[in-house]
Structures are given as C-alpha cells and as structure tokens.
C-alpha cells in the first residue's frame, strides 16, 4: 500500500484519535468513564437514526423523513400514555408500527409511484410535521394538559417507559451505562452484521450499486428498496421512543436537527476505513466523531454556532476524503 492508501484508510481514525488526545489535554475531566458513556448517550438518538438512514443510502436512496418520524413517534408515545392512558408496551408497539408504516409508504411512493426519493421523503417529512400536531391542536403533550375539548389528560409516562431513558446498567462502575447507549450498540451491531454478513445486506449493496444487475441476478429489487425504507422508519421510531423517554413528555418539534446530524454521521461514515460507501461501522464512528467534538467544544465553552461550523468542516473534510482521495466519485 502506498502512503496515499494509508491516508485514505486510516486518515479519519487518526483524526479522531488526535481529537480525543487534544480534548484530553485541553478540557479537564474529558477522560473518564462517565464522560465516555455520556458521549455515547448524547449521540444515541441521532446514532440510531443515522444507522437507519444508512440502510436507505445502501440501496441508493435517501430518507429525509427520519427526523419527523422520530418526533412523531415521540408525540405518539406521549399521546398513547398520557391521553389514551395505555401502558409502556402499547406505546412502544404503536411507535414501531408508525415507523414501519411510514417506511412502507415511503417505499411505495418511491418504488411504485416513481416519486424521486428526496421528494417523496421530503413530502413525508412535511406531512408528519403537520400530522403530529393534529390530535392536540399544536400543544405539547404532558400529564395534566388540557385537551382541545377542555378535558384534562390524566395519564402519565409509565415508569417502565421512562426507564428506557433513565435506567442505567452497572458496568464495573454501578449505574454507568444508560439504556439508550445499549440500544445504540445493539442496533449498530445488528445492522452491521445484517449489511456485511447476510445475503440480504449484500443484495442491498448490489441494488444500490447497479439496480439492473441485481435484478438480472434474481433479486426482487423493489422489495429490497421498500425494506430499506421500513428499516429506516423503524430505526427512526426507536430514536423517537428514546427521545420521549428522555424528555418525559411529547414535544412539538420538526426533528430537522436530528435529521441533519444523522445524515452528517452517515456521510462521515463513508470516509471511515476508506470505505467510500455507506456502512454501519462508519456511521457509528461518524456519530461518535460528532459526539466527541460537541462534548469537547461544549466543555471548552464554545458557543453553539462554532459547533455547527466545526460539524460542517468535519463533514466537508470527510466528503473530500471519500470522493477526491479515493477516486470513487468518478467511476
């Protein structure tokens, strides 16, 4: 391998380690188990969304609706528990169903109605941002809220549901690892294994690279594409469940920042290990990269706009790594 190959392969990891080293020196308290766990926790929600959108990127698509799926799932969880007074299990099931249904509709629009992916999921994004406000006429949902008809909603977030956001598992140190981090790690490993080691994952990459070749090799291309959007929708709804469990209420929000951070993580992932393609490991590292950056910068009192700026710089550098240095962009 030439020096250039090494740069492409390990450049981004080296950058990440350099960043950690810098913050370790510059920011007091950056290096500790709690700090490490917290970085994972801060990226858990966007990380889960990013893993989902990776699936659509693999089949050559894109999903702009993940942010609003997450916030819609959050509203749905709150609505089910607070207004309909159901338990945590029902809330989780409803959220997952919403994610799957949105994914199916996205896939149907793209595959059968031939709407370009960006436009279909953009439409879905607007639709969901509006839809999540309809049941409460634009109010956020919390226990004791007044409904549009004047009644008071008396249900509350079940303890089991809140535990998803607040319980911590012991790991050498008691009460160290939050549920959301476990969920992130489990989903990351699942989707990584699925994409790299199963025939379904392999075929999804083939569909993304050359749809006609995949079809002539006997793959049901339409089904693969729809499944990718279902995965993306379900992952986004899991992100929404974690969000609801952390906030403890249903907040009206578009989720656009979740979307942007998740997409950034997935795109940064292209540059990890010189993959130059969407991949689950890269996405996880990309999410972590953003998390470490934000944690370090916040600890050093950098205001939010410098953080956005730095996030943008990292993304641009990652894209240059992917497209210019590895030369894949041309072929």
């Amino acid at each position: 391998m030439t020096l250039r190959d090494y740069a492409i392969r390990y450049g981004f990891i080296v950058l990440l380690l350099g960043l950690v080293a810098y913050f370790a020196i510059a920011a007091d308290g950056f290096v500790s188990p709690q700090s490490a766990v917290f970085i994972f926790q801060s990226v858990a929600i966007t990380g889960v969304l990013a893993l989902g959108v990776t699936a659509t990127l693999v089949v050559g698509g894109f999903d702009l609706s993940i942010g609003s799926v997450a916030t819609s799932a959050m509203m749905a969880a709150a609505y089910v528990m607070v207004v309909l007074e159901q338990n945590a299990v029902v809330a989780v099931v409803v959220c997952l169903l919403i994610g799957a249904i949105v994914g199916l509709i996205n896939g149907w629009l793209i595959v059968y109605m031939r709407v370009p992916d960006l436009l279909a999921t953009l439409g879905m994004m607007f639709l969901l941002v509006g839809l999540q406000r309809i049941p409460t006429e634009g109010r956020s949902i919390a226990t004791g809220m007044t409904m549009p008809d004047g009644s008071v909603a008396n249900g509350k977030f079940g303890d089991a549901f809140l535990a998803l956001g607040r319980h911590r598992f012991d790991f050498f140190i008691p009460n160290l690892i939050p549920v959301s981090v476990v969920v992130l790690l489990v989903l990351a490993i699942l989707i990584w294994f699925f994409l790299e080691y199963t025939r379904f994952g392999r075929m999804m990459y083939a569909v993304g690279s050359n749809e006609r070749a995949a079809e002539l090799a006997g793959a049901p291309v339409k089904a693969y594409k729809i499944w990718a959007y279902v995965i993306s929708g379900v992952f986004a709804s899991i992100g929404g469940i974690l969000l609801a469990a952390r906030l403890g209420r249903g907040d009206i929000a578009s989720g656009n920042n979740l979307l942007l951070d998740a997409v950034a993580a997935a795109l940064i992932g292209y540059a990890v290990l010189g993959a130059a393609k969407p991949n689950a490991f890269g996405t996880a590292v990309g999410a972590l990269f953003v998390g470490i950056l934000l944690q370090g910068l916040t600890m050093m009192n950098a205001p939010y706009y410098t953080q956005d700026f730095v996030k943008g710089v990292v993304l641009v550098v990652a894209l240059v790594f992917t497209f210019a240095l590895s030369g894949r962009g041309r072929s």
Binding site: R199, N210, L216, A219, P220
Partner: protein, 503 residues
C-alpha cells in the same frame, strides 16, 4: 459522380491509446444523394461521425467541404460550416421542456448579435418559416415533451435543417420509431434530397436501406470494406462486406444434441411478428444471429423471465416453464449473461468475488448468513477456470480490462450448473484472445446443458456454435448446421430479403 462530391474524406485515421479505431477511411458524399453507411458494432461508424461533426479531433487524413479544407475543432464550427448531425439519442437534439417553435429556433438564441430580450412573436414567425420549408405540420406551440418520438425526431431534424446545411448526417434515426413513423421520416428525407442536401444515413435496418439508399458504404474494423453504387444495389453484398466473410481455419466440429432441454412453441415477442418455435438440446451450443434491432435481446429476456411474451408456451426439461422474473428463471436453471455488462451485469462497488457470488447468495448462505469461505473458494475456482487476469479475488471490477470483466460475468453464471445457459452478445468489447478463451470454455463445459448465444457478428457464431439460427423482424427466419453452411442463404436471411441469385 466522384468529381462532384460535396464532401470528401481522405484516409481518416483515429486511435484511442493502443487501439486503432479508424485505419484510413475514405468517403465521398454527393449533393442530392442518400449514402447509407453500414457497419457492425465497433466497426468505427460512431467515431467517424464524431470526427466529422467536430466532437473528436482526427488522428490523420483530410476532409474537405465544397472544395474547402474542413477541420472543425468544435461541433459549433462544423454546423457553421454546413455539416449538421442528428445523433441517435433523439433527446440530445431537442429541449423537452420548451415548445416546438423555441426548439426550432434555439440555435438563434445564442451567439453574437442576438437581442437580449426574448421576442415570442418573432420566434414563432421564424419557426413557422423553418417548419414550412420542411413541410412540418406539428403544432408549433406544443411542448416537445408532449410529442411522440417520431415528432421529436422531425423537430430535431428540422432544427438541424434551420442551418441550411450542405451535409446532413443521420445516426440511426429510426431505431426507436414504428414503421408508420419511419415512413413520415423517409418522406422528409426525400424532400431534403430534392433540396440537394448530401445525406449520410447510418442504419442497420434493411427495410430503411432498401427504401432510401442511393449508395451503400460498408465499414468493418475501421476501414471501408465495400462501396455499392450501381443500381440495382447489391444489398447482400453490402451485408457481406459489413459482417466480413472469412475462411475459418479453426472451424469447429459441430456436435449434435442429446435430449431436448428447452422447447419453445409459438412464442411471439412483438406485435405483428411471426411466432417463434425452437428446441434446444443438451450438449449443443446454438447461436442466434441477426442485425441490431431484430429482437435478439427481446428473445433472450423473454427466455430469462424479465420480459413477457405476447403468446406461446415454453417447456424446460419436460415441465412447463413460464418465468415471471429473473429469480424464477434462475430457480429453473436458466441463466443469462446479459448484454452490455456495464449497465446490466457488473456491480461496480463489488470485488470480483462478490460479483461472482451475486446470483447464488441464497445457495451460499446458512439462515441468511453468508458462508464467506464457500464464496471465496468459488471465486478462486472460477478465476482459475476462466483464466481471469487479476491480483486476487478481492480486486475491484474497474481495475480489470474489458475482456477480464466479461470473463467475470461468464464466470459468475458458470459458478453453478445450469440447464439452459444464455449469453447475449458475450463478445462485445472483448479482445480476440479473451473471446477465444470464453468460446473454448463454453464449448468444453457444454455437455450437460443447452447453451444459447445471441451475437450480431457472424464470425462469432461460426467460431462458437454447433447450430446457427438467423433472426429478422422479431422472429427466426433460418436454421443452419455449422458444418456445411450455405453462407449465401444465411447472409440473405440476415439481410431480410428474398434470396435472389443475381447478387
């Protein structure tokens, strides 16, 4: 006639790297005459057209237009000098979202001395003048995207004619037109001929050629292989010159078929086409040949389940066979190496290993988890078998040469045993040694399956097949055993006309 040639090409040469595409082409075009240029894929037609229209720079030789030296460095220069080309892809010649009037006058919207403001009434007036001259009866306010392909083609040609060129080049203009639509195009060409335009018409369609040609020029392997200008025109001779008739020293020994594998009854693949019936047997290699656009790929895709026949039945190994998808076909043991590997075969982001395993992932996995060891072993075996030149099975496809890429495609489908192995244009863009390798491999492994090749080049059929079927007009028109072939008859069938011995 030679003296009054409007446009002359003398000894034109062009190479891309090592590869010589044009080896000294000479060609004359006369005013008021349609010269048809015939040539198989890779004969160098499109390179010639691109040099004439100023897209490529010539590598050697000379061109002259009306006695003046002609050396366009850009397409715009060629057009200004009076040589206009309508390319094969119709949509390159028109802007779909604009109306017909704007399209007809589009070239007047740019350049020097054009007023900054767009004047719709002037545009319509100019457009009307252009349309009238061409006898065009299309609504000038219609959007081009709402027009039929034929109308778009007319607009593209009329737009080209707005420059009042001396030479008009039409590159396969009827390839996506119906016969009624083509008739309208021919009337337009007749009109242009009367207006004394020199026309170079590139086509494989014998019906077009019979209708239009004043002269025929055949091209093969980068040189002119025949010029036919005495009436009546010798069409078979032209096809001959285009396909090339050589004595084959390495004639194969044709084998007979054992039990039948695939039986096709009354299969119709296009409206108005005669039904196809054929039987393919185990152990034999059958080649179906015919010109471009006679339905070879349509037949291949029908057998492979990605296209539905209009009528007819198929039987595989005695059982009814009606595949609804490629997956059905593969499950039934019918494999296809599709035409044009770049768009329908190669997965660019995958290594050789992963390209080979692609159709058989189910067979190479356990509860959906891939058995990577099996995958690697298969790839290594196939690389060995077909003599694919690479560093390892982990090489990415773009690093391979065209011939090796094609070998990977063949290796993919030979990794598992098939009942019927179909290859559509397997030798396209493949150098001669790779072609020999692939053909030898196909014949050596043919024993337990039926093998069916679709090839345009007659040579390839003669080199590989036990039996040769000829396709024309979406159906099979002839059958030959590759032992004592009556080439006269075969060529006549390819050319699609009744055999007349006067040729």
């Amino acid at each position: 006639m030679v003296e009054n040639a409007v446009f002359r090409v003398e000894g034109l040469r062009k190479s891309f790297g090592q590869n010589e595409v044009l080896g000294g082409v000479s060609l004359n075009l006369h005013a008021g005459e349609v010269t048809v240029l015939m040539g198989a894929n890779g004969a160098g037609k499109s390179t010639l057209v691109k040099i004439i229209s100023g897209v490529y720079e010539r590598g050697g030789g000379a061109m002259s237009l009306a006695g003046q030296d002609f050396a366009p460095r850009k397409p715009a220069e060629a057009i200004r000098a009076g040589v206009v080309t309508v390319h094969q892809n119709i949509n390159d010649g028109v802007v779909a979202d604009l109306d017909v009037a704007t399209n007809l006058t589009l070239d007047r919207l740019t350049g020097k001395g054009v007023p900054t403001l767009f004047n719709p009434s002037r545009v319509r007036r100019d457009a009307k003048a252009v349309a009238d001259r061409m006898g065009l009866t299309i609504d000038l306010r219609a959007r081009v995207s709402d027009l039929s392909l034929a109308d778009r083609q007319m607009v593209a040609i009329a737009r080209a004619m707005a420059h009042q060129p001396m030479v008009l080049i039409l590159d396969e203009p009827t390839s996506s037109l119906s016969s009624a639509e083509a008739d309208r195009l021919f009337r337009l060409i007749d009109r242009l001929r009367e207006q004394n335009v020199a026309i170079l018409y590139i086509s494989h369609r014998m019906s077009d050629i019979r209708r239009l040609a004043d002269r025929i020029v055949s091209m093969r392997d980068g040189v002119i292989s025949g010029v036919f200008d005495t009436k009546p025109l010798d069409y078979e001779g032209a096809v001959n010159a285009m396909l090339g008739r050589k004595i084959h020293l390495d004639r194969i020994v044709a084998k007979g078929a054992a039990r039948p594998v695939l039986t096709v009854e009354g299969l119709r693949i296009a409206q108005g086409a005669r039904p196809i019936s054929l039987t393919l047997g185990a152990g034999e290699v059958v080649a179906i040949t015919g010109l471009v656009g006679v339905g070879k790929t349509a037949l291949a895709e029908t057998l492979f389940g990605v296209r539905r026949p209009l009528s007819g039945t198929m039987t595989m190994n005695g059982r009814p066979y009606a595949p609804r998808s490629a997956a059905d076909a593969i499950a039934a043991g019918v494999f296809l190496v599709a035409k044009d590997r770049a768009t329908s075969g190669i997965v660019g982001g995958f290594t050789i290993e992963r390209n080979i395993s692609l159709p058989f992932l189910r067979r190479m996995s356990n509860l959906a988890v891939l058995k990577r060891r099996v995958e690697r072993a298969t790839a290594r075996r196939q690389i060995e078998e077909l003599g694919i030149v690479c560093r390892s099975e982990k090489d990415e496809m773009p690093t391979l040469s065209g011939g090796n890429q094609q070998k990977v495609m063949v290796a993919r489908w030979m990794a598992q045993d098939s009942g019927l192995f179909i290859l559509d244009e397997p030798f396209q863009g493949v150098d001669i040694s790779a072609r020999r390798d692939i053909a030898a491999k196909l014949r050596a492994s043919a024993d337990n399956r039926a093998t069916l090749l679709f090839v345009t080049e007659l040579d390839e059929a003669l080199e590989t097949a036990d039996r040769i079927l000829v396709m024309s007009e979406q159906t099979i028109v002839g059958e030959h055993r590759n032992g004592d072939i009556d080439l006269e008859r075969l060529l006549a069938e390819v050319a699609g006309g009744p055999l007349h011995s006067a040729a």
